[in-house]
């Protein structure tokens, strides 16, 4: 496709629609793709450090861009090699989504971008020295932080742009990181004129837990528990996203029953996630009763999950190439009970708010984000759909038989807090529809891939055959051997497009794992959303985006 570009780009094409370009041509290619080919959705930007790679690469680092087109079904990957001292052209002028992503690349790898508005650290603290995702940075080398950033370096230019030269009239206020309405540890620093926010800056990274570095030090199956803790409100969906990506690299597919179980439990997780989001949102609005209505059914679901997986929250229910164990006897009845509870809670809550003037006034036309803006910012999931963009990976790139289930995609029309909440209510309904259909059609059979280089052999085989013993030993000690290559795959998680970009060197431990966290892109728009609004609205904006710190900061 790049051949059509007038600028005569030099490139070579690799597998998975990946193009290798010269660093200086990257921006030209992106402009061409965006303006002439309709690739206007920036999925992610990431980098890889090839220092310890088994074969030498032309240069130490690579920078990688992932883009999708208007219909969201074509993914293109652009990649360029560079050394530490080379400078990359920033694409923040093309995609607002690039702003924070480029900062992350700088923070984690120390690669510089030209013309970036404010290239500073984002996940690690200000006093941090070095770049942790470089292969020569030791994983356990922690660095103390003694002070918090005052953020005035970001605030002053923003205020200036709005015509505030001196700040005497303004009041500065921190919303977070330790604040009841900050939903975890997110900090938004605002400048107020009366109760109106004239300028805002968000700081994240308070829950940066080194997920990606930890991945490089564990085998594929050992990473599953780490994925639980990305979006901990719907742990199983993260498990699925990761396992699904690795299975794609291995070129295997789960047996039908396995796929159906993933659909059922995955959708149930989506329901729980939305319930927590809505409950918290309504509490922020002062509608406390809804919290109980929406929260208690979640308790039933947790009970079911702990019966099924042994844990309430951090389930680790998936494995590469399978599922830990099959559904238990009586699961169907428990599930029915659970769905009944959810429906009741939802109806109760909706009956309180749906036609409630206070709720509508509070939520409508607050934090409006247009469709174009949302796409440019890299939004996905319910937030994007609330702005009226019909993008649901379950429909666009169906996996696990999603194309055979009957369900609707809920869309909003305005893109305000109200739409984002109502879309979630509707999605709960649709998920229940999918669960019911999947339960009816649930086939019998295996839940794991039969290849014992990928999934553990049955215990009987381990104890009685030499082959089984070897399989067990190798899988446990060395991990699943994933073929050399780089690969991206994503699923529709509760918050949107949750994808993994994995680079493998053929061993049982990934060489590099990059998560594409949907929250990250939603959160980067918060400062612009809240400017001009009241403080109380900022709280709703944040809540309606459903920012989960674990996924945001990783």
């Amino acid at each position: 496709m790049l051949k059509k570009c007038d600028d005569k780009l030099e490139f070579s094409k690799e597998e998975n629609n990946r193009y290798i370009l010269k660093l200086k041509d990257i921006k030209k290619a992106i402009i061409f793709l965006k303006e002439q080919q309709g690739y206007d959705f920036l999925v992610d930007i990431t980098a890889i450090d090839y220092l310890n790679y088994k074969e030498p690469y032309p240069k130490r680092f690579a920078i990688i861009y992932l883009l999708k087109d208007k219909k969201f079904d074509n993914l293109i990957i652009l990649k360029a090699y560079l050394d530490e001292d080379e400078i990359i052209d920033s694409i923040t002028d093309l995609f607002k989504a690039a702003n924070w992503s480029e900062r992350e690349v700088w923070d984690q790898y120390g690669l510089k971008f030209k013309n970036h508005p404010n290239l500073k650290r984002i996940l690690n603290h200000k006093e941090f020295i070095g770049h942790p995702l470089r292969k020569d940075y030791p994983i356990t080398k922690g660095q103390l932080c003694t002070k918090t950033d005052d953020l005035m370096d970001e605030m002053t230019p923003r205020l200036k742009a709005r015509g505030y030269e001196n700040h005497e009239e303004l009041m500065f206020l921190n919303l977070g990181p330790a604040h009841p309405a900050s939903h975890g540890t997110i900090r938004t620093f605002v400048a107020l004129e009366g109760e109106t926010i004239v300028s805002a800056v968000s700081e994240i990274g308070y829950l940066h837990r080194g997920f990606e570095k930890s991945c490089e030090n564990h085998t594929y199956n050992q990473i599953i528990p780490y994925t639980d803790r990305l979006n901990y409100c719907s742990a199983i969906l993260n498990n699925i996203a990761f396992a699904h990506t690795v299975e794609g690299m291995l070129g295997v597919e789960l047996p039908e029953r396995g796929q159906f179980i993933r659909v059922i439990i995955g959708e149930l997780s989506r329901v729980i996630d939305h319930l927590v989001c809505l409950a918290a949102n309504l509490v922020d609005m002062g509608a406390l009763t809804n919290y109980w209505y929406l929260y208690n059914p979640r308790e039933t679901a947790y009970h079911l999950l702990s019966k099924l997986t042994g844990a309430r929250l951090t389930n680790s229910y998936m494995r590469i190439g399978g599922i830990t164990h099959d559904l238990y006897d009586g699961f169907e009845d428990d599930l029915k009970e659970c769905i009944k509870d959810v429906q009741k809670g939802m109806d109760d809550s909706l009956s309180l708010i749906e036609h409630n003037r206070i709720f509508q006034d509070r939520a409508q036309n607050i934090g409006v984000v247009s469709a174009d803006e949302a796409i440019n910012r890299g939004w996905s999931g319910p937030n994007l759909r609330a702005s009226g963009v019909n993008y649901d990976i379950r429909k666009v790139n169906p996996y696990y038989f999603y194309d055979t289930f009957e369900f609707d995609v809920a869309l909003g029309s305005v893109g305000d807090v109200y739409d984002r909440m109502m879309v979630r209510f509707e999605e709960i309904r649709q998920s229940i529809k999918i669960i019911t259909q999947a339960m009816k059609r649930l086939p019998k059979g295996d839940i794991r891939v039969a290849d014992h280089r990928i999934t553990l052999p049955p215990k009987k085989m381990v104890y009685s055959t030499i082959e089984g013993a070897i399989n067990q030993f190798k899988l446990t000690y060395e991990g699943v051997k994933v073929p050399t290559g780089e690969y991206y795959r994503s699923i529709e998680a509760a918050n949107g497009e949750l994808g993994f970009y994995i680079a493998s060197d053929g061993s049982g431990t990934p060489y590099r794992v990059k998560v594409r966290p949907p929250c990250f892109f939603a959160m980067s728009s918060l400062p612009d959303m809240v400017e001009g609004e009241m403080v109380a609205d900022a709280v709703l904006d944040l809540g309606s985006l459903n920012i989960i710190a674990g996924e945001l900061d990783r």
Binding site: K141, G142, G184, G210, V276, W292, L313
Partner: protein
């Protein structure tokens, strides 16, 4: 109970005790927690507070969002180095007598995040009274942590006094 001496004059209407014990008894059943919830553990705390597990059965449902009004700090979640100075400041803003529960593997020891960004246990920066295990702890375990604190409180005077007098020096106090 048969009472003799002066107390007998009042019959059953008066109980005599030490002032310390009376205060401890009152405090014990009305703890005001401040939740320093950062991660997954905080989601489980939400369950502790909601109707099924109901922390108010133990008199600790008045969750405060200002450290100045709280006497129990519950740390639920991973504390990163970036977060550490904030946690310390919140702890310092609480007035004595104050108690600290470190809930979950991460807060207690860094959990399975043995890496460049995670503090390997909050006791590196502030003193901790009770550790609750689990990743995340089940709601019952959270409640058990609270009960443990109540037990410590019931020990009149001494425990707290000892702790306040013992100088704590954390990594950020240097």
């Amino acid at each position: 109970m048969a009472v003799s001496g002066e107390e007998a004059i009042f019959g059953d209407s008066v109980i005599t005790t030490k002032l310390d014990s009376a205060i401890a008894w009152a405090r014990e059943s009305s703890m005001w927690p401040y939740i320093f919830g950062t991660a997954c553990c905080a989601i489980e705390f939400m369950s502790v507070a909601s109707s099924k597990f109901d922390i108010s059965r133990f008199g600790a449902e008045v969750v405060r969002f200002s450290p100045r009004q709280a006497d129990l700090l519950i740390i639920a979640g991973t504390i990163s180095y970036k977060q550490a100075p904030i946690l310390k400041r919140i702890y310092e803003q609480m007035t004595e007598p104050k108690w600290v529960v470190s809930a979950g593997a991460c807060a207690c020891s860094g959990g399975f995040y043995d890496n460049y960004t995670t503090l390997q246990g909050v006791d590196e920066i502030i003193p901790v009274d009770v550790y609750v295990s689990g990743c995340p702890p089940r709601p019952e375990a959270f409640l058990e942590g609270l009960i443990q604190i109540q037990k410590l409180q019931a020990k009149p005077g001494k425990y707290l006094q000892k702790r306040v007098e013992k100088e704590f020096k954390g990594k950020l106090d240097a």
